[in-house]
Symmetry: C2
Subunit: 366 residues, 2 copies
């Protein structure tokens, strides 16, 4: 059901292959987000041709709409959305905890009000695993307890304890050999709590580990320090996934910390907002500077958008309110991140990670 | 620059080939509308793979944004929007006359206020031809004078006279052998005025004729009667184009009148509004009936949307507010109209037009 091979390392950076039910993934890998069974603005064929090996979908959203019955009747999430490569599903923990006063936590699970129609729902470790297995996820995430930062030590400690307890229950609830279950390390920015969370979860022997509870209000330096020490404490032989990371800079930093997988809505959200991501930084393609700029979005990118269209055409599409602008720029931004990952993989394999990393970071800062 | 061959006729219905600068078009042909150099929601590659042979763009919109300088600097409209097949451009007459109190007509041309920023602009027969030639249209339309129905005989007669005068000036203003110029027959629902308009324009010997001033408030019966008598009066050897027609029923009726070309925003506008067009009628794919309907949008359609996705998935996309729903349904609707046209062409070639027409019309009415 899952096998991870570490092919090369360079410093802390890792180059691996992850074998999953619906195919293999070369790591480090970026996972575009298809929240509600659609990567916004892109067909599954687009998502694939942009270089995507695995995408992410959200249990919270799919649970509410279209719901389990529909996805099961469709023959699973892959068939429902016409995507035949691997899918990782988030457990819904992060979304539910973002609901704030619309949810109540108890030791057995969490009860929440749908943001769509106010209907009441309940997530438990068991039913979120069952849901993810039923829809056919390649990788399911445990239900975890997220805490918004800043938080007290007691709040963070409680979230670590409950996350461990729920991890154990998720493990026990597993029924399908086709879905791999990843645990989620919590502990906020507290080093001792992160180490405790790692110890407790590693003792339960999961096939992969995520670093949760980051990108929730802390500084970049705090995030990177915590990601680095957490990654270093995780087993070498298991894939590591940091949740909610999606800028070129943050992904390069995460790879440098020894992390293998990343997801974020960032490239598609930017794409819908005229924000172009490139190997030499970001810019708003609506700006007057691009009205008659007939160069590609990123001259260093070989994606179909960069080889077919100009900045001037995309600038026009955004100014004219044409949805094709969002479609094309979302495609490019996803392809760009995959290209960054491909370069990172080559650099680690070639033993020149630090050189590549420094050049790539310098290029986006200049 | 343009050649039209009539390959077969069956009753009044015609099967032809139109040779243009950027390629040939099998007629009867439907032209999707790319108002502002984009067929909404579709990449040029999508537009092509859906079966499009020629698309329409609007002088009024392109004139205002991105403007002539940008399109010329891009190397023409084809290169600007990455579309290498034929393009027909409307002269802007229809859009300008829709502006009502924002425009002033005089014998030399029409002065109007941009709907975007209130800036003043002026169209003349000469400058609209120059614009369309400069951007590289395969077919340019003359600047004409449209009248909203109902209208008095005097208003209609004046519009016919001025349209003829402007047609003559457009003809004299032509400079490029790569752009074919079509005249536009006016005259509202008045038979004698339509005949006068045809006589005057045919005397000027254009390579093609459009029937304008319909789809502007009259009944379907009035439209069809006027289209039929106008088409019958036009020369057999020249292509005939009726403007603003885009439902399956209206297109079949127009082919039956002996018309060869049609354009409308209808299939893409429907696509954005969850309205599915099929060989057996239209339906709203958001409806509860489709939540777990795992059949294709149209089981008789072989487009990539129908062979890849289900009604249930599209229903979900629209309910979840995912833009992919608009993209996929726009694609299907365009492909569906092209499929209707392909069937119509085959029926005319095969000499069974009336049988096919009656069956096709019965299928969408049942």
């Amino acid at each position: 059901m899952i096998a991870f091979s570490l092919l090369a390392t360079d410093g802390s950076a890792r180059r691996g292959t992850l074998q999953l039910t619906h195919g293999s993934v070369q790591t480090p890998a970026f996972m575009p987000v298809g929240t509600a069974a659609s990567v916004k603005g892109l067909t599954p064929a687009d998502v694939r041709s942009a270089g995507t090996q695995i995408l992410l979908a959200n249990t919270y959203h799919l649970w509410l709409r279209p719901g389990l019955e529909t996805i099961e009747a469709a023959g699973g999430l892959h068939r429902f959305m016409a995507w035949d490569a691997p899918i990782l599903t988030d457990s819904g923990g992060f979304q539910v905890f973002s609901l704030q006063e619309r949810r109540t936590l108890d030791p057995d699970g969490v009860t929440f009000k749908s943001h769509l129609d106010g209907s009441m729902h309940r997530f438990t470790p068991e039913n979120t695993v069952a849901f993810q297995e039923a829809i056919g996820s390649d990788i399911a995430m445990q239900l975890d307890v997220c805490v918004k930062l800043p938080a007290t030590y007691e709040e963070l400690a409680a979230s670590v304890s409950m996350t461990t307890a729920w991890a154990q229950r998720c493990r026990a609830a597993q029924r399908s050999p086709d879905t791999a279950l990843f645990a989620i390390v919590q502990g906020g920015l507290d080093e001792s709590l992160r180490m405790r969370s790692v110890r407790e979860l590693v003792a339960l022997d999961f096939p992969g580990y995520a670093i949760g509870g980051l990108s929730v209000g802390e500084t970049r330096e705090e995030m990177e320090r915590t990601a680095r020490l957490t990654a270093a404490a995780l087993p070498q032989s298991k894939p590591r996934y940091i949740m909610g990371i999606g800028t070129v800079r943050d992904i390069i930093a995460a790879v440098d910390c020894g992390i293998d997988m990343f997801d974020c809505v960032y490239p598609t959200r930017c794409g819908r907002n005229a924000r172009a991501m490139t190997h030499s930084g970001e810019f708003n393609i609506r700006n007057a500077a691009y009205v008659r700029d007939f160069s590609p979005v990123d001259p260093q990118c070989s994606c179909t958008v960069c080889t077919t269209y100009t900045r001037a055409y995309l600038c026009h599409l955004f100014r004219a309110g044409e949805m094709l602008g969002s479609q094309l720029l979302s495609y490019h931004n996803v392809a760009l991140l995959h290209d960054v990952m491909a370069q990172a993989r080559a650099a680690i394999e070639g033993g020149n990670w630090a050189t590549w990393r420094d050049a790539a970071l310098a290029a986006i800062s200049s």
